[in-house]
């Protein structure tokens, strides 16, 4: 890995996002280091996805700074941010419904493919080469995420868990340095969750740092190296799973009054 583990890729300083009167993100500070798995947790409405959308360029933050690989990406288009190396998946699974699984994943390579419109028109050698490369890449990542089915099928034909894997494969196609997963475990059964944990570990092994928004405490505690807890748009805790597990603030934010331990599992 080129960067030393402690090299910070993403740095968010006093991020504020307001929808009219509602303050969704209230002075968030967080950072992501190379090759690290960071989980962002917090009760519903804590501003996790809003912060996520700000970082990936879909919302315009009102103030604060977001720096990625040393550059500010506050005012950048989502597509530019992805080109810089930050890919993401969506909370409610946004695959391209009228495209085959292979094509879905191939779109991930759009920005780095060397193919102009006249290449496609005239079927030049450049067209053939770039298509073959892109197809091989796509098949590699589909295989990587453990998808075995017929790739010419339409995504809507797949079960929910499989669609999740295809979405992750599509995100990986953009050769990210940081992969942001928005509630990847939502709706998965127990065995699929184990498969997901194993997949996330393999992604990390490639040197890709992962930012995870997740509600499933089991998964979060098991896999994350660092956990950031958000509540009402502010981060109230940032530390290793063990520190977070016993932090009174976190327990109180999540469970309100003092409850017994196993609820937290």
């Amino acid at each position: 890995m080129s960067e030393t583990p402690r090299d910070t890729l993403l740095e968010v300083r006093d991020l504020v996002l307001r929808f009219g009167g509602v303050v969704a993100v209230d002075g968030l500070n967080m950072s992501v280091h190379a090759g690290e798995i960071v989980s962002v947790i917090g009760p519903n409405g804590a501003g996790k996805t809003s912060a996520f959308n700000c970082i990936s360029g879909f919302y315009r933050a009102n103030s604060g700074s977001i720096r990625f690989l040393g550059q500010s990406i506050l005012r950048r288009q989502p597509s530019t941010i992805t080109k810089m190396g930050m890919a993401r998946t969506f909370q409610n699974l946004r695959l391209f419904k009228e495209m085959s699984i292979l094509d879905n994943v191939k779109t991930g390579a759009h920005y780095r493919m060397k193919q102009h419109w006249f290449d496609a028109l005239l079927h030049t050698p450049a067209y053939g080469k770039s298509e073959r490369e892109c197809e091989d890449d796509a098949r590699y990542w589909l295989d990587f995420v453990g998808f075995k089915g017929d790739t010419s099928m339409y995504v809507t034909a797949l079960p929910y868990g499989e669609q999740r894997r295809v979405e992750i494969a599509r995100a990986l196609m953009t050769k990210p340095r940081v992969l942001m997963l928005d509630e990847p475990a939502a709706g998965l059964n127990h065995s699929e969750k184990q498969g997901l944990i194993e997949l996330i570990r393999r992604i990390q092994a490639l040197g890709i740092s992962i930012v995870l928004i997740e509600h499933d405490m089991g998964l979060v505690m098991d896999i994350s190296e660092r956990i950031i807890v958000l509540n009402y748009g502010k981060e109230i805790a940032d530390g290793t799973p063990d520190e977070i597990r016993n932090d009174p603030l976190v327990v109180e934010a999540y469970l309100g009054t003092d409850e017994d331990e196993e609820d937290a599992e």
Binding site: F19, G20, N53, F58, Y59
Partner: protein
Amino acid sequence: MTQVLIDGLFLGCVYALIALGYSMVYGIIKLLNFAHGDIFMFGAMIAFTMLTAVPGLQSAGIVAVFGVLILSMFLTGGTGVLIEAVAYKPLRSAPRLSLLITAVGMSFVLEYGVKQFWGSKSITWPQWAQMGAGSIPIFDGTITISRLVLMAVSIALMVGLGFYINGTRQGRAMRAIALDQRASTLMGVDVNRTISLVFFIGSALAGAAGVMFGMYYGAIGFMMGFLLGLKAFTAAVIGGIGNMYGAMLGGLTLGLIERTTVYFCNGDDSWKDVVSFGLLILFLTLRPTGILGDRVVERM
């Protein structure tokens, strides 16, 4: 010069009445009802048939004309509800594109369906049903009584609609659905009935505009809905699509702007349409929510 203002205001009233229909339907189910201009024309056709088919109506004079106005408003409203039920309701969850294309299809069905029954030639409104020609001088312009009466009727309709939307229970339901359809269902609002009601009111207003148009101009045809519908939509966008008062304001503004452009090109109105559509494109790009429309933040 005041003559230009009077003409502009009158034309503006016609545009506003139709624009209300566009704004209401767009506000509630985010559909640009292409067929709305043709519903305006359909209203005029229904009223014409009633005026000519029912014998002895002539003797009742003005009372009969207003009776026909109310009746054709109801019938056009009914047609609007029928169109919504047949063509738009099944597609409520379909992608935007198919809903828009169905609206284009419906506008063809109305236009060429009317042509089938009422013929392609321009139809003359019965003489006795046209408003009297007496006129009252204002400053250096003159306004015929008929225009005055028709403007009064349209303003009354618009103000009535305003109270209805803001005052009554169904009005509140409409505004709720406009904001969030699913939430309103949870609150016990019968969405389908309310949407039909919106189509009824929007179409009835367009029908009224159609009848008044026939009464004043005295000639109607199967294609008159297309251009006027487009102009009314421009008015709705300028005023602020989805906003009632926006539609009224937009209608009057567009009417005045058109008349002044024609005045400055001294009577040559070949470039008038270019100005109105240029305005439409300008507003849609620079301020899509129009004069009164509030800037809505598009959430993911």
